[in-house]
Each structure stands twice: as C-alpha cells, then as structure tokens.
C-alpha cells in the first residue's frame, strides 16, 4: 500500500492557508471599502488598502484560472 501522505499533507496545508488568507484579505477589503468617513481613520487610506486587498484577490483568481488552463 503506497499512500502518498506527502501530497495529501500538501493539499491540506495549501488549501487551509490559501483559503484563510484569501477570505481574510477579502474581508479586510470589504471592511475598508465600506468604512464611512465618520467612523474615524482616514478614508483615503482605508480605500487604498481596500483596493490593494481586492487586487490581491484578483491576482489569486487569475492564478486560479491559469492553474485550470495549464
């Protein structure tokens, strides 16, 4: 019986880290984009941060499409 534990572990690790990271980053983006000026902080900074977060997620999606097509 030759079970490829390494590959299984790798799938496990990559899936877990990538999912939590992406969901976290996207959530930060949503919070940043939705923050109203009255709630403190500089709105410009929040907006820029939000766009950066969405950018990271966009890159992840493109990488995903690349993986599917490759």
């Amino acid at each position: 019986m030759d079970i490829d534990w390494a590959a299984l572990g790798e799938v496990f690790g990559v899936s877990l880290v990538a999912t939590v990271a992406l969901v976290g980053v996207f959530t930060l983006g949503i919070i940043g984009a939705g923050r109203k000026p009255s709630s403190g902080g500089t709105p410009v900074l929040a907006r820029t941060g939000a766009y950066a977060c969405f950018g990271v997620c966009g890159l992840a999606v493109i990488y995903g499409i690349y993986l599917i097509a490759a």
């Binding site: 299984l8 899936s15 877990l16 999912t19 939590v20 976290g24 959530t27 997620c57 993986l67 490759a70």
Partner: protein, 491 residues
C-alpha cells in the same frame, strides 16, 4: 466515420448522457450556496455555471488518456461493452441520487461502474486494489475534512474581523466574492469532468478502430462533451442544489463566501498537486465547515450523514448495476439492446417519480421536505417489508398526513436494493421497474398540490416564509433563514 459500429455509437451516446447527468448533478457544487445566499438568482446562476462549464471543456488541452486513472488494468484494452455497462451503472446512480437530492460524486459513480463492469467481464485480477484505496477511499475521507476545516477557519476569521461592522453592509461584498469563487469552481468542473467524457468517447473510438492508438479527441468530441455538460448544468439539479444550499445548514453570505472559496482553493490545490479530490465531496465538506464555523450555525447532521452514506454506497451500487449490465451486454447485440432499453426505462421512471414533488428554480430555496418533517423512524420501516416494497415506497408518495421525511430518509439503502432488484433479472429489469413507474404516473397529475396542502406545519412554513425569501432584501433574508432553522430543529 464508417468505422463506427452500432455498439460504438451507443457507447458515445451513453457517454454523452452520462456527461449530461454529471452536469446537472454537479451544478450544486458551484452554485448551491450562491443561490441560497441570494448572491445570484437561480436561473442566472445555472446559466453562468453552464457557460463556464462549456468554456472549461475547451480551456485545457491536456487530455485524460486513461479514463480509469489506473483503477483497472487497461493494458489489454477495454471492450466497448464494458465501457457501456460502466456508464449505465454510473448514470443510474446519478439519477437515483438526484431523485433523493443527494450530492454524490459523479467521478466515483463512473469509477464504481468501471470497477464493477471489469470485475464481471474479466475478474478481480484486473483491478488494482492499491489504486482503489489511493484514488477512491482516501480522497473520499480526506476531501470533506480538508475543505471543511478550511471553510471553518475562514468562516471564524471573517466573522471575527467583521464583528464591529454592520452585516448588511458587508453582505453585498461577500456575495460578489462568492460569485467569483463559484465561477472558478464551475470552470474547473468543466475542465475536469467534460474531459472524463472525452476520454471515454476517445477510448471507445480507439477500441473500434476509428482513431489511431494515441489520438487526441477530435473537435466534435470536445464540442459535444462540452455541450452535454453545459446543457445538464443549465437544466440545474435543483433537488441537489436545495440539499446543499439549504438542507445542510443555513448559509449566510460570509459563510457562502468562505465555503465557496475553500472549495475553489481545495479543488485547484488538489488537482495541481496531483491528489485528486472529488468536487462534490470538497463542496459538501466546505458547506458543513462553514455551518460549524458560524456561531449559532446549525448543521443538520442527519442530512450530512445521509450524504455520507450515499458516498459510501456510490462505488458498490454503481459497480453492481454495471456488473450485471456487463454480463448481459456481453451476450451480443440483444444483450446490449436489453440494457439500453433498461437504462431508458428506469431513467424515465426516475424522472416521472421526480415529477411528484418537482423542485425547480421557483422553490429551490425552500426547505427540503425531509428536514421540515420528523426525520426519525422511517428507515427500519422501509427496510422491513422487503426490498421490492422498499423500492416502491422510496419512490411512491408518503402518506398525506404523515411526516414527509419518509421520502428522503430511507433512500440510500432502498436505492441500492432497488438497483439490485431491478438489475438482477437483467432482461426482466423493465418489468420490475414498472410498478415504480406506474405508482409515479398515477400520482403525477394530482399529487403535488394535495401533498402541499395536506402537510400543515411544514408546508405552511415553507409557503409563507421562504417564498418571499427570494424577493425581499438582505435584512429579512437573515431573519427568515433563522426562523426556518428554528422550526426544523424544533420538529
């Protein structure tokens, strides 16, 4: 194309039919939570998924050369009869699980069919036991765990990060994120699963001598496989979508996003690293994980348990039908015809049975019946009177005033038995499928409305609350969701 014999033609058509069932069976994987969180309207969601499945079929040039992934010894060449029998087993299992609203892996059904047909045709010697464990058993156990844990932590994290934020304000963002993840799942599905069908058709063409030994699939094979899976997806396996989107847990937008993202990353990671996981298992696991991850989220483990029983039965059940089909099909043209007629008759019977309580895009977000009624006690009752009665009961209307849970509850076991019963006297298969069909037809016209009214507690709730569910905004959506969940956990 003069090389294409009648048998090869039948195999190609059957392969496309399998592709079609694969499409509507797996719509739920990408779109169930997208539909239940209201991120997309049901019709729009399946349309998008269908287009992406079609695109996915053309996207990748890498073709699965071995359809069985080494499960069985293909060295001596697989006979077209064996491929045909395998497809019959896989299609019937897909139809039965669709009728029961159970998400189950189409790949496993195909693998089970191939295993059964090969064992019947060649013997156990042609099966690589190690590979079965490696490609079927371990992934089936690992997939829901991996995706489930990822979705769980992601859900926890997103609720923690947004605890100071207004939920309505973030919901729209999460819906967009979810649509994107679902699109990736659809695309990956089209690429993976349409290729399986292309592989089957190509293999059949090669075995018939219409193509050279190492030929790539011709364009018409790619196009027809892509179209079949897209059509199936667009038809929408609404029963399975309902189970996955509503039956397992009540999904809120952040959960839907976490679940769908977990599914997308797990599928991509696994296929990239080369440890293939079943899309269905991944997505179901992700939904369960997201359900556990939200504070106050209720996962209906009875539904989850039924799904897992279904997964366990997939390979043996599809294998059994395929084995019997293979034995009959090898008797020559008459045998192949008998199996083809059997397939058409039983699929038609299952479709008629499904018309008793149709589930479509209008009621897909209602609660599954099995969850609104009592969910206990149906099982032993259905097992006791013998398999034929059980099979008929499983497809016949439940008592009007009784719990509607009886319908879905005993299905996995009853199905396996039904499959066995209908398959055993192989040529007589149509006869034993007949009672079910008759029972179903008898009730098609009048039954749905009657049952709707006859089941006061469950139906009243389903009609009053979730009907508006589609049209009202996000705020009432969450409250409607929680009221349905309370009702079901109380009963």
């Amino acid at each position: 194309m003069e090389h294409i014999t009648l048998l090869i033609g039948i195999v190609i058509v059957t392969a496309l039919v399998f592709d079609f069932t694969n499409g509507f069976h797996d719509t739920a994987n990408a779109m169930a939570t997208t539909i239940s969180t209201g991120a997309m309207k049901p019709k729009a969601a399946v349309a998008m998924s269908a287009v992406l499945n079609l695109v996915g079929a053309f996207v990748s040039v890498e073709v699965a050369k071995t359809i069985s992934s080494g499960l069985i010894d293909e060295g001596s060449g697989i006979k077209p009869e064996v491929i045909f029998a395998a497809l019959v087993g896989a299609i019937l299992w897909n139809m039965l699980t669709w009728l029961a609203g159970l998400p189950s892996s189409s790949s496993h059904a195909l693998m089970g069919g191939l295993l059964g047909a090969t064992v019947a045709s060649v013997g156990f010697g042609a099966v690589n036991g190690d590979v079965v464990v490696m490609k079927v058993l371990i992934p089936a156990l690992a997939a829901p765990l991996v995706a489930g844990l990822a979705a769980l932590f992601a859900t926890r994290l997103s609720y923690r990060l947004t605890r100071d934020t207004d939920e309505r304000q973030t919901a729209q963002g999460y819906r967009w994120g979810q649509i994107t993840s679902a699109a990736l799942v659809s695309l990956a599905h089209g690429t993976n699963d349409a290729q399986k069908t292309m592989g089957v058709i190509t293999l059949a063409l090669i075995s018939g001598g219409a193509l050279g030994a190492d030929a790539d699939p011709p364009l018409w094979v790619i196009a027809s496989a892509g179209l079949a899976i897209a059509l199936g997806t667009y038809l929408g396996g609404w029963r399975i979508i309902r189970t996955m989107g509503k039956g397992i847990t009540d999904i809120q937008p952040p959960q839907g996003f976490a679940a769908q993202t977990s599914a997308a990353t797990t599928i991509l990671a696994s296929s990239h690293i080369g440890f293939s996981l079943s899309t269905t298992h991944v997505c179901s696991g992700a939904v369960m994980g997201a359900g556990v991850g939200r504070k106050g989220g209720v996962v209906r483990w009875s539904t989850a348990g039924r799904m897992i029983v279904g997964w366990g039965l997939t390979v043996p059940a599809a294998g059994l039908v395929a084995a019997v089909s293979a034995l009959v099909a090898e008797q020559g043209n008459l045998g192949v015809t008998a199996i083809a007629v059997f397939l058409v008759a039983s699929s038609g019977g299952i479709w008629l049975a499904s018309r008793r309580q149709p589930v479509d895009h209008t009621n897909v977000n209602d609660m599954p019946e099995a969850e609104t009624g009592s969910t206990s006690g149906a099982d032993p009752d259905e097992q006791a009177p013998g398999v034929v009665t059980a099979a008929v009961q499983a497809v016949s209307p439940p008592p009007a005033a009784g719990p509607r849970g009886g319908d879905g509850e005993g299905l996995p076991e009853a199905e396996a038995d039904a499959a066995a019963v209908t398959a055993e006297p192989a040529e007589g298969g149509d006869i034993s499928a007949e009672p079910a069909t008759a029972a179903a037809t008898g009730h098609t016209a009048s039954e749905p409305t009657e049952t709707e009214q006859a089941d006061p507690d469950a139906t009243a709730l389903r009609d009053s609350v979730p009907r508006q569910y589609n049209s009202v905004g996000a705020a009432s959506r969450s409250s409607a969701g929680s009221s349905t969940s309370t009702a079901s956990s109380v009963s």
